[in-house]
Symmetry: C2
Subunit: 188 residues, 2 copies
Amino acid sequence: MSPRPAVRPGGRSARVQESVHQAVRALQAEQAALTVPLVAARAGVTPSTVYRRWGDLKELLSDVAVERLRPEAPPADHGSLRADLEHWAAGFLEEMSSGPGRSYVRDTLAGDPDGSNAGQCSAYAREQVETVLARAVQRGEHVPDVDTVMDHVVAPMMYRALFRPGPLDAGHARDLVATVLYRLMPLP
Amino acid sequence: MSPRPAVRPGGRSARVQESVHQAVRALQAEQAALTVPLVAARAGVTPSTVYRRWGDLKELLSDVAVERLRPEAPPADHGSLRADLEHWAAGFLEEMSSGPGRSYVRDTLAGDPDGSNAGQCSAYAREQVETVLARAVQRGEHVPDVDTVMDHVVAPMMYRALFRPGPLDAGHARDLVATVLYRLMPLP
DNA sequence: CGACTAACGCAAAGAAGATGCTTTTAGCTC
DNA sequence: GAGCTAAAAGCATCTTCTTTGCGTTAGTCG
C-alpha cells in the first residue's frame, strides 16, 4: 500500500505510478537488471521521482508484487464446499510455488517496513476463502471457521512455498482441505 | 550457508567471515545504517572483500540472519509430549513474532536466491520438533508425524508472524498443539 | 479563475558498487 | 617442514546509484 504519502491520487501522480509499475513489470518480464535508474528511464520519469515516492527499489518492488498477488476473480463455484476449497487451494498452491509466485511473495515481504503489504497479501487469500465459505453457508452446508482454514490450509501451503525448495505436491492441497473438513470442523 | 564458493573454511577466510558477521550484528544492535562499506569498515576489511564473498548486502544479511535463527539448545524436557510441544511452540512463536525475529526471517528470505537459507531455517524448526517427538517415542507415547506438526503447528505460527501485523496471541500456540494432538493424530 | 502546494524535473554532489592488478596466506606435495 | 599453487584479501580506480536543493508544473480548493 505505499505510495508514500498516498495523497493526491488523481491525475499526474496516478499516471506516474502506473507508468512506473508498468516499467517494473516490463523489465521483470525481460529478465533485465532491475535498478531505479533503469526503471525510471523506461517509465519516462527521473530517478529522483522514484526515490521520493517509494524510498528505494525494494519498496517499489513490494508494491508491484502485492499488486500482482491480487486475485483477478472470485473462486469458481463447483457446487460444494469441498470442491470449491480443493480447486481454490490447488490454484493457490500452484501460483505460490511457481517461480514468479515465490518471487512476488518474497518481494512483498522484503520491501515492507510496516507489514502492510504482507497484511494485504494475506487479506487477499482470506477474502477468497470467505467467499467460498459464504457460498457454502448459502447452500446450507456446515462450514469451518475462516481462521481455521487460514491456519490449516493456507498457512501450510505458504510455508512450503517459502521455506522448502523444489516443486510442491498438488495432492498436498487436497489433503489439507480434507483434514480441515473432516477432522477439524467444529461440531454442528 | 553461502560464503559464495564456501571453499577454504579455515584460517583467514574464517576470521574474515566471523569478523564481518560480528560487524553486522553490532551495527544492527546500534540501529545504525547498514551498508557494505560501513560493515566492512567495522570489520576491518575492505568493501571489495565483502562484495566478492557475498555478492551484495542482502545475501550477507541473509547469512547472518539464518545464523541467528539456529536454536541454541534442544527443546527442554517437560515430561510429556504435550508439555514439550506447548513450551517449544510458545517459545517459537515468541521468537518469530518479536521485532528482531520477524526481521531475521524476512532477511533470510530476502537475500536467498536459491532458497538454501530458507530451507535451513525450516530445517532448524524441524530438528527441534523431531527431538521432541523422538523423546516422546522413548517414553512410549503415541506421536504425530513430523510433517503434521510442521503443517499444523509451525506453519500457522510462521504465517501469522510474517503476514499479520501486530502482536500474536500466545494461546494460539497452545491451541495448535492441542489440535494436532487430539484431532489430527493418526490412529494407534 | 486564481492562489496554494504536492509532486515532478533537473543538476550537482556524495556514497555505494564493480573490477583489474598486486599481495598475502592457507592447503598440498614432496 | 620448505616450497609451490591458487584462493582469497587488499588497494586503487572507475562506474553507477542515491541523495538533495531549487525551480517548474499541474492538481485542488476556495
